[in-house]
């Protein structure tokens, strides 16, 4: 609590520090400015942009002793096969300054029409959805205001553009703790695991009625960057949102609070995308969840907090990123457990319930851009410990080895090989059952083409 207060004071102090000059240009890693503003005096009324990401993935996980498959061995978002092609993202958007003489107002819109977690739920539908629609008002120096639906200020992995991702899949921490799945209105029993025959018949393990949050929220954000001198910028953001991802509702009547602070040294003189950034963030909100296995819709308000800090260094030919994340409440237990339960449906409340569990995660990523070539080598280790201290505590660890071939600045091919180690670490009956499934989680190969315009 004390840390939280200190963080808030620091943020407010930074935002209103009178001695700071508003930064003229956005740094290469300043996602707040890059996504929320347009270049002053040089923006188009309408700039059409977007990208396509098509991939092939093969999961080498094996069935459990009774021939069944759990979601970790299946490819998302469909979760009904171990290998196949996917059109993961088809995003098209427009952004700009509607009346180019007046730089005070910018807008940003984006549609998702691929087959991704943000536009697919248990219904199986994946029509186009609006993932971003925001207006930025640049009237107050040091306090730009962005309203609408957009990426909330938070982890580096979620905030960065998907076209800038160096890997095909997210870390376990980002996938489980940050890429939020929302509880169904009524208790939904566990589903699966399914047998191969059932999967071939089109079984759908996803039992969430809503789509994933996509690191986004609807609300209002105050933000800006300040020039600290010697190429250092200080950025801050404070946001209030519904806490409902890309769905426009606020059914719990509560608002999520987001805070973000970063200090970035612009290394553009050594390369256009170069920079060194230290960042810290926090989000706090509540969620309604029905975790009792009965026919009564008796939802309880649970606290959901996430915090993180990290550093990103990008100075070609090297890249290093580290981020540490903590999570308290609403720990996602997997797509076959829509009521946040991990092992035993008869005991869905209490210690086995992810709705009031804790978790933490971290990752270390390194990249080497092979000089005088278009090739890049990447390696990342990430790990997540979920339900910490509970009798179903589990650890998911993953090495991702990869290479990227940058065809041109807007197009690339990414190939990854994931070495995964999933374990339920507590010595309890719940873990015996869970490990029966988790020990068969295998490695995964993926190759993806990204083309942006």
């Amino acid at each position: 609590m004390g840390d939280k207060k200190l963080f808030k004071r620091t943020l407010i102090g930074a935002a209103f520090a009178t001695g700071l000059t508003v930064a003229g240009t956005a740094g290469a890693l300043d996602w707040l400015r890059l996504q929320g503003t347009e270049p002053a005096g040089a923006s188009a009324p309408v700039k059409v942009w977007g990208f396509i990401q098509a991939n092939y993935q093969k999961d080498y996980g094996s069935a459990n002793a009774t021939g069944q498959y759990v979601p970790a061995k299946l490819l998302g978002p469909n979760l009904n096969a171990q290998g196949g092609f996917n059109l993961l993202h088809v995003q098209v958007g427009v952004r700009g300054t509607g009346f180019p003489l007046d730089e005070h107002i910018n807008y940003f819109m984006l549609l998702e029409a691929g087959n991704a977690a943000t536009n697919r739920s248990s219904g199986g539908s994946n029509g186009a959805v609006v993932t971003d629609a925001s207006v930025t008002l640049n009237y107050i120096k040091g306090a730009r205001i962005r309203v609408g639906l957009f990426k909330y200020p938070g982890s580096e992995e979620g905030l960065q553009s998907l076209t800038k991702m160096d890997y095909v899949n997210f870390t376990e921490g980002a996938n489980f703790l940050l890429l939020e799945r929302f509880p169904n209105a009524a208790y939904t029993p566990n589903v699966g695991p399914f047998t191969q025959t059932q999967l071939q018949n089109g079984s759908n393990i996803n039992a969430f009625t809503g789509t994933a949050g996509g690191f986004r929220d609807t609300g209002v954000q105050v933000f800006d960057s300040f020039d600290l001198g010697k190429d250092w910028n200080l950025s801050y953001a404070a946001m209030l949102g519904n806490g409902s991802g890309i769905q426009f509702d606020n059914v719990d009547g509560q608002y999520d609070q987001y805070l973000y602070l970063s200090a970035e040294k612009n290394l553009a003189s050594t390369g256009p995308a170069n920079g060194l950034k230290f960042f810290v963030w926090n989000q706090s909100g509540q969620r309604l969840a029905d975790v009792t296995n009965d026919a009564v819709a008796n939802r309880i308000l649970y606290q959901r907090d996430r915090s993180g800090l990290g550093v990103k260094y990008m100075a070609k030919p090297y890249r290093v990123t580290f981020e540490y994340i903590t999570a308290d409440g609403m720990i996602f237990e997997g797509p076959d457990k829509p009521s946040y339960y991990f092992a035993n449906p008869a005991n869905a409340t209490g210690t086995n319930n992810g709705a009031n569990a804790k978790a933490n995660a971290w990752y270390l990523d390194g990249g080497w851009y092979i000089p005088n070539t278009k090739w890049e080598l990447d390696a990342r280790y990430d790990t997540m410990d979920a339900n910490t201290g509970r009798n179903d505590e589990h650890t998911f660890g993953k090495w991702t080895l990869g290479t990227q071939y940058n065809i041109n600045p807007m197009s690339k091919v990414t190939a990854n090989y994931e070495i995964r180690q999933y374990n339920c670490t507590a010595s309890t009956a719940q873990c015996t059952n869970a490990n029966g499934n988790l020990k068969g989680v295998g490695n995964k190969f993926s190759v993806q083409v990204t083309a942006a315009f």
């Binding site: 002053a40 005096g41 040089a42 180019p100 003489l101």
Partner: protein, 149 residues
């Protein structure tokens, strides 16, 4: 739709720049430079801003110091290049210190002031000339090489 908007925007400011400019016959400007270039920007397209600044930089690099004189003239939507808060302001200042002149069309400025309800603040390195199109004519008459990237 977009094309229409751009065309209308461009037409209004270009027309104002051309039709209402009072021809100003300045005294012959003497120069010891071997080459003189007038670079013209009147486009809405933001990429043209970077292009014209690159042109100026490349010309400076191509000739020995003092051998080339460059003036960038902006009118219509292109005047945004010379707005005080333009993202290229630092680069404009650097080019200005290297001798590149920046001329902002007064007619366009007046028209923009009417639309906005206030006068846009210009880069201090920009000098307001009565009419951008007129200024280009004067420079061409003096022997400047005209370039519109």
């Amino acid at each position: 739709m977009l094309t229409n908007f751009r065309s209308m925007f461009f037409f209004i400011f270009a027309f104002v720049g051309m039709a209402t400019a009072a021809p100003v016959v300045s005294a012959a400007e003497t120069s010891l430079a071997d080459y003189q270039y007038v670079l013209h920007i009147s486009d809405m397209d933001p990429s043209k801003q970077e292009l014209i600044l690159n042109n100026a930089s490349n010309l400076l690099d191509a000739y020995p110091p003092g051998a080339v004189e460059i003036e960038i003239v902006a009118y219509g939507p292109g005047l945004r290049l010379m707005f005080a808060n333009n993202v290229h302001a630092q680069r404009i200042d650097s080019l200005s210190q290297s001798g590149v002149k920046f001329s902002a069309c007064g007619n366009t400025l007046n028209a923009m002031t009417k639309q906005l309800g206030y006068e846009p603040k210009l880069n201090p390195d920009a000098k307001v000339v009565p009419g951008g199109i007129v200024r280009i004519g004067e420079l061409v008459k003096q022997g400047y090489i005209y370039v519109k990237p």
